[in-house]
């Protein structure tokens, strides 16, 4: 990755809930074009890190730059897939309509989505294999299908950087493979993909970059260099034996 641009630069980021820090002084440099996993135990602040980078939560200290500019100026370069459980799936809307929401950012205030946006949304649905479900009410979709719809919504944002909060949570094996294939395609197109991930076993297989996080940053870098017992132990506090395919 030498010589490549820096997609995300985080400096001295500290986030607190009720004056209790959940992220301490995080420095993080994410080069362009990596497929990165953020791993760490429950309560390590993985989701919080993403949310703070995206300005959903205000940090109490530190700064974030997306391609050398503050986030507010770079919104259109960023796509976000929140945790599936963070929304109410009984909301009266269809799969297609949820994907259309991905186009709202580029439209800006007041302007409505038109034919162009609908076409983009249909293409994204097709990419995730959900075209035949476009008119389905979202509560009538299975967990894996809901996750695919979320992914399609991010694809339609046509961003440079994708942030995903546990996209593999509660999905079956087929959906997991479908999702990871799309993420790998994004990386091939030189997009940067940052994923909060739980399954340590699949890190070497799915990702080429990894960040270990547990309130503080433990390590960040290429999977082949730093995904080892030492860092796993530092992050999870117990001796983790994970087979690393070097």
């Amino acid at each position: 990755m030498e010589g490549s641009k820096i997609a995300v630069q985080v400096d001295d980021l500290t986030v607190a809930y009720n004056y209790k820090p959940v992220l301490w002084d995080i420095d993080l440099t994410i080069p362009e074009g990596v497929l990165m996993a953020i791993v760490g135990p429950n309560g390590a602040g993985k989701s919080t890190l993403i949310k703070a980078i995206l300005g959903i939560i205000d940090p109490i200290a530190g700064s974030v730059a997306i391609y050398n500019e503050p986030y507010e100026k770079q919104r259109k370069k960023v796509a976000y897939v929140p945790q599936k459980g963070s929304v109410d799936w009984d909301f009266p809307t269809t799969a297609l309509d949820v994907v259309m929401m991905g186009t709202y950012g580029k439209l800006g205030w007041i302007k409505r989505p038109g034919k162009k946006e609908k076409k983009a949304a249909l293409e994204a649905l097709e990419k995730v294999g959900m075209l035949s479900f476009k008119g389905r009410q979202i509560s009538q979709l299975s967990g894996g299908q809901q996750q695919r719809v979320f992914l399609a919504r991010a694809l339609v944002q046509d961003a440079a950087i994708y942030f995903m909060d546990e996209p593999f949570q509660g999905v079956d094996a087929t959906t997991e493979i479908a999702i990871i294939n799309i993420l790998k395609e994004l990386r091939k197109a030189n997009k940067t993909v940052i994923v909060v991930h739980h399954d340590l076993q699949t890190v070497p297989e799915y990702f080429d970059w990894v960040t270990f996080l547990n309130v503080k940053k433990i390590a960040t870098g290429p999977v082949k260099d730093i995904f080892n017992d030492d860092n796993l132990t530092k992050t999870y506090g117990i001796n983790y034996k994970v087979a690393v395919n070097q």
């Binding site: 009720n18 949310k51 995206l54 300005g55 959903i56 507010e72 919104r75 960023v78 796509a79 976000y80 929140p82 963070s86 929304v87 109410d88 909301f91 009266p92 809307t93 269809t94 949820v98 929401m101 709202y104 950012g105 439209l107 800006g108 205030w109 007041i110 409505r112 989505p113 035949s132 009410q137 509560s139 009538q140 299975s142 894996g144 299908q145 919504r153 079956d172 087929t174």
Partner: protein
């Protein structure tokens, strides 16, 4: 325009103006907030009235709206301490503000037409008496103009910010990332709700205003899975209940606001019972069908597993699967109706279609892959999740 027609028109306009923000309050699970606002704007109204001596003055509306927004801010501030939950915070804030209003009325406004009864129940019947005069000409009841203006603003904002409202209601995180601040949308909605409550307050009172906001939206929610349709249905339910309520009051010589609220409740009850998908009767029917279909599947799997005739005799099935006669007959009939089995000499045989169905169902049970059973969802409740 006769007084009767004017009252109905005011009721209809109030109903529409309340139904629109109500849909978003219901979807945001903030129904109780509207209750809080409708009560806690009272001190704002009283203060405004004491200053302006006019219940329809824009200053009064502004002051009361500010009190409404303050309510929301206070509720959120108390909630943020993490010491109490949202419902408790609401329960703490609005009675406090409301009681300040009650004391203010008792101390200062005894001699004017502002009393606690009117505040709670409104005085729709008197609304036509308060006329708006422009250059000496009577152009209609004042509250119709006030509510009409509020409704126009609400509709304008709804059309302008429909997609922003939708995305911030469905997914605040995404909304924030896209640049549509959920905080701005939240307080925008709270402000418009407060304005509406204040405007409707004089006509229908603090209690009915809540019903007009929440009941139509809750009713529409049972009938549709499309936000636009939900908005339209809410408006229709609100107006229908308002007008029907007026005539009920007329016939029974009873309170208009009370009758309107009763109608809202009745409309909800009817839809709750008879809605095609989410209604109680539909749900009960579906559950019964699902029970039968589970039995059918069990039966087909049994046939699939046993080729020997002794296992496929009708009487044997009764004993074997351990069902009562009635249930066996229902299941046999359902299977025959779907051409899944044939019966000759009391021996049951799976047809080709029955075999295919069983294999698909088996595969679904084993793999839990939804795609396999997509075509079956149309015919069988069991697979509709």
């Amino acid at each position: 325009m006769g007084a009767q027609l004017e009252i109905q028109l005011i009721a209809a306009v109030v109903a529409i103006a309340c139904a629109i923000p109500g849909v978003f309050l219901v979807l945001r699970k903030m129904s109780l907030i509207s209750d809080a606002i409708s009560h806690s704007i009272l001190p704002g109204i009283v203060l405004g009235f004491l200053i302006t001596h006019d219940l329809n003055s824009p200053w009064l509306i502004l002051l009361a709206t500010i009190t409404g927004v303050i309510t929301v801010v206070l509720v959120e501030a108390i909630q943020k301490t993490g010491l109490v939950k949202e419902d408790t915070a609401i329960g703490l804030v609005f009675p406090a503000l409301f009681s300040i209003g009650v004391i203010l009325i008792a101390k200062n406004a005894n001699d004017v037409h502002l009393d606690v009864d009117a505040v709670l129940l409104g005085e729709l019947a008197f609304a036509p008496f308060d006329r708006l005069l422009v250059a000496g000409t009577d152009i209609g009841p004042k509250s119709l103009w006030v509510m009409g203006s509020i409704l126009l603003v609400t509709i304008g904002l709804l059309f302008a910010f429909f997609k922003e409202l939708k995305v911030s209601t469905f997914d605040a995180g995404l909304s924030s990332v896209l640049g549509f601040s959920p905080v701005v949308m939240h307080y925008g909605l709270m402000s418009i709700s407060s304005v509406t409550v204040v405007g409707a307050f004089d006509a229908v009172g603090a209690v009915l205003v809540v019903a007009l906001m929440i009941a139509p939206a809750a009713t529409a929610y049972l009938l549709t899975s499309d936000l636009k349709k939900m908005l339209m249905l809410s408006v229709i339910f609100g107006v229908t209940a308002a007008v029907a309520g007026y005539w009920m009051a007329h016939l029974l010589d009873a309170s208009i606001s009370g009758s309107m609220t009763t109608m809202l409740g009745l409309v909800f009850l009817m839809v709750y019972l008879f809605a095609p998908n989410k209604g109680i009767i539909a749900v009960m029917y579906r559950q019964r069908q699902q029970r039968t279909e589970v039995s059918l599947l069990t039966f087909l799997l049994h046939l699939n597993n046993h080729t020997e005739e002794s296992e496929r005799h009708i009487n044997h099935l009764n004993e074997h699967i351990n069902w009562q006669k009635v249930r066996s007959r229902t299941v046999l009939e359902l299977a025959q109706k779907n051409n899944m089995i044939t019966i000759s000499n009391s021996i049951v045989t799976l047809t080709k279609k029955g075999k295919e169905f069983t294999d698909l169902a088996l595969e679904y049970i084993v793999t839990n892959k939804d795609e396999k059973i997509e075509p079956m969802k149309d015919d069988f409740f069991l697979f509709r999740g």
